[in-house]
């Protein structure tokens, strides 16, 4: 089977692998590179559990072919904590008890991170819109919305 090279920066480190043609970014990350933080909840683009950030944009890694990411800079939830210190969003998810089973959490955090990167002080409606492509079956969403608003407040307090 024809293998194709993929090479990108993942959470600050260079990655290069050979994958089968047509391999999704999700499968390349999980099966080849060993970053299992993006989850395969549907492989249809309808659940958001596989969300990652590619060159600053939120993407569904299950619908993105790995080959199309050559040269890209990719961030996943496993790369957010720096030096063992949790990202404010991760901290807020803990503090507001925003995870239950945790399967949707990495994708939710990715969606929230892109929001806060562009909109540091979002309204509730903006948070709702930012999370709208991500499914959670456990929490009823409210704790997750609160987590994102909490992280935004923590950020603005740190900035002040």
């Amino acid at each position: 089977m024809a293998k194709v090279p993929v090479q990108f920066t993942l959470n600050g480190s260079e990655k290069a692998e050979f994958v089968d043609g047509g391999t999704t970014l999700l499968n390349a990350l999980r099966d080849k590179i060993g970053d299992t933080s993006p989850k395969g909840g549907c492989h249809q683009g309808t659940c958001g559990a596989c969300s990652v950030i590619v060159d600053g944009e939120l993407r569904l890694s299950c619908l993105t072919l790995a080959e199309t990411c050559n040269g890209a800079t990719i961030t996943t939830t496993s790369g957010l904590a720096e030096g063992g210190v949790l990202h404010p969003l991760q901290r807020a998810f803990l503090d507001t008890f925003a995870s239950q089973c945790g399967f949707c959490t990495p994708g939710m955090i990715m969606a929230a991170k892109v929001l806060l990167d562009h909109t540091p002080n979002p309204s509730r409606d903006e948070v709702v819109e930012a999370l709208s492509g991500n499914i959670c079956r456990c929490t009823g969403y409210e704790p997750i919305i609160q987590a994102v608003l909490t992280a935004a407040r923590a950020n603005s307090q740190n900035a002040a």
């Binding site: 089977m1 089968d20 999980r30 099966d31 060993g34 970053d35 299992t36 933080s37 993006p38 989850k39 395969g40 909840g41 549907c42 492989h43 249809q44 309808t46 659940c47 559990a49 996943t76 939830t77 496993s78 957010l80 904590a81 949790l86 969003l89 991760q90 998810f93 803990l94 008890f97 995870s99 239950q100 089973c101 945790g102 399967f103 949707c104 959490t105 990495p106 955090i109 499914i135 959670c136 079956r137 456990c138």
Partner: protein, 455 residues
């Protein structure tokens, strides 16, 4: 959330150190960093992918199965049919002696629902398994199907499942589980009003974000480690042991970290066939439901029909309640015979009614086999009961909440299934709800208690 400590303070000691404290969850740091290991986060070199060929018909005889082209497909390692499964006809509740065995791991001679597993294909890649699955030829003779419980119970209806011989589960009490308490006909005769209403529900999917699945690794010592998201480890292990006729000592199940279950992961569906695949190929195997399979193949909450007939007095007392509940098991039992009888134990709801008659049926149809879901055997019954309560209150021009106070069970009241009520708190919940919602309720009800003098 608010804890209202004023209720039941006399029976509760608040002197604990760790209990009652909002300690952080030990698993959350793993969740927020993406480091929690779910079953599918395990990847083994040389792992095979299992894809299932499924029935396109609701009910059909299988004339023949031809897997020869699929077996030749590049990347295919093994193709499994019914004859490969050591104990192909099983039922999961056999572990608690609820039989007969009525379901096939892989269809043998017949399919009884659209989506039933017929042939399993194991291949080097998911794509190869999908392509080979498309090459499996199954010749079907379509049979008449029945989708409605009442149709299924009529004489002459197509028999869905020959292992039962009739389209209902036969309890020791007969065609339904029965509860008889008092004299329900006398109650109706004495009632000021009698109201009979019918309620129905659709099947519901659990829809966990993580689909059902497992990853199996042969260990080289004749043991197999199965990483699974089952909700019940030994329940699955022991059923697998029966299906594969393999001693339990050969099986090692690892799980306990599940991406949502809601009752949808208590069927023993993926593990036996995946372990069989690993055994026959000597290779690691993963069998993970696609989202489409999770939505339409995995067991839903059963569709139910509930008929409630009540006798009520003008003063608000319910004097008789007759409930006939139908649980649509679909084509196979799975957990449904249990759920139907759990319903029998739940009716007539949290109310003290002197005359009660309950029949609950577990019915077989050619719908997707149903199983447990959050609120199993109770959720739909509660919908029916509580809408019925609203109708009864309006029938006698009484406030719906006050009507419930009149009938609410209290400590010591005998339930229809002949257990005395203990630890009741319905009245207090209603009082607090009335306060929270500014729902006007007469003072005498707000002064009630679930405690009874002398109880």
């Amino acid at each position: 959330m608010e804890l209202r400590k004023s209720y039941f303070a006399d029976v509760r000691k608040d002197d604990l150190h760790e209990i009652g404290q909002a300690r952080p969850r030990s698993d959350s740091p793993g969740h927020v960093t993406g480091k929690t290991t779910f079953f599918a986060d395990r990847n083994f070199p040389g792992m095979l992918h299992l894809k299932m060929v499924r029935s396109p018909h609701h009910h059909a005889r299988i004339r023949s199965i031809d897997t020869s082209e699929a077996e030749k497909h590049p990347g295919v390692v093994k193709v499994l049919t019914a004859k490969d499964v050591p104990h192909n006809v099983y039922t999961i509740l056999i572990l608690i002696q609820i039989g007969p065995e009525d379901e096939t791991v892989l269809a043998d001679g017949k399919v009884r629902w659209k989506g039933e597993a017929v042939v399993a294909v194991l291949a080097e890649t998911e794509r190869a398994a999908q392509e080979a699955a498309a090459k499996v030829k199954v010749d079907y003779e379509v049979l008449p199907a029945v989708f409605d419980m009442e149709e299924a119970l009529k004489p002459g209806a197509p028999i869905v499942n020959e292992y039962h011989g009739q389209n209902y589960y036969l309890y020791d009490s007969g065609e339904c589980r029965k509860v008889r308490f008092g004299d329900v006909e006398a109650g109706f005769a004495e009632a000021d009003h009698v109201l009979e209403q019918s309620y129905q529900s659709s099947p519901i999917e659990h829809a966990p974000t993580e689909t059902t699945g497992c990853v199996v690794a042969p260990e080289g010592n004749d043991r197999f480690t199965c990483y699974t998201n089952t909700q019940a480890m030994f329940f699955t292990l022991d059923n697998t042991s029966i299906i594969l006729q393999m001693p339990g000592s050969k099986l090692h199940f690892v799980g306990g970290t599940v991406g949502g279950g809601f009752g949808g992961k208590v069927d023993v569906i993926v593990e036996p066939i995946a372990i069989l695949g690993a055994k026959l190929t000597g290779r690691p195997v993963c069998f993970i439901y696609s989202r489409e399979e999770e939505m339409q193949i995995s067991s839903p909450r059963a569709a139910e029909k509930v008929v409630i007939k009540d006798g009520v007095m003008k003063d608000g007392r319910i004097v008789a309640r007759k409930v006939t509940g139908y649980t649509d098991a679909g084509a196979y039992s799975r957990h449904s015979p249990y759920g139907a009888q759990k319903g029998a134990g739940h009716y007539p709801g949290p109310y003290t009614i002197p005359n009660v008659w309950i029949d609950t049926y577990c019915v077989y149809t050619n719908r997707t086999p149903s199983s447990a879901m959050r609120g199993f055997g109770v959720t739909i019954g509660d919908f029916a009961l509580e809408v019925q309560m609203d109708k009864l209150a309006r029938l006698i021009a009484m406030d719906p909440l006050e009507f419930r106070f009149i009938n609410a069970y209290r400590d010591g009241d005998m339930k229809a299934h002949r257990q005395p009520t203990e630890g009741a708190a319905l009245i207090e919940c209603m009082q607090e709800a009335a306060r929270a919602a500014n729902w006007p309720v007469a003072e005498k009800y707000m002064a009630m208690s679930s405690y009874k003098k002398g109880a």
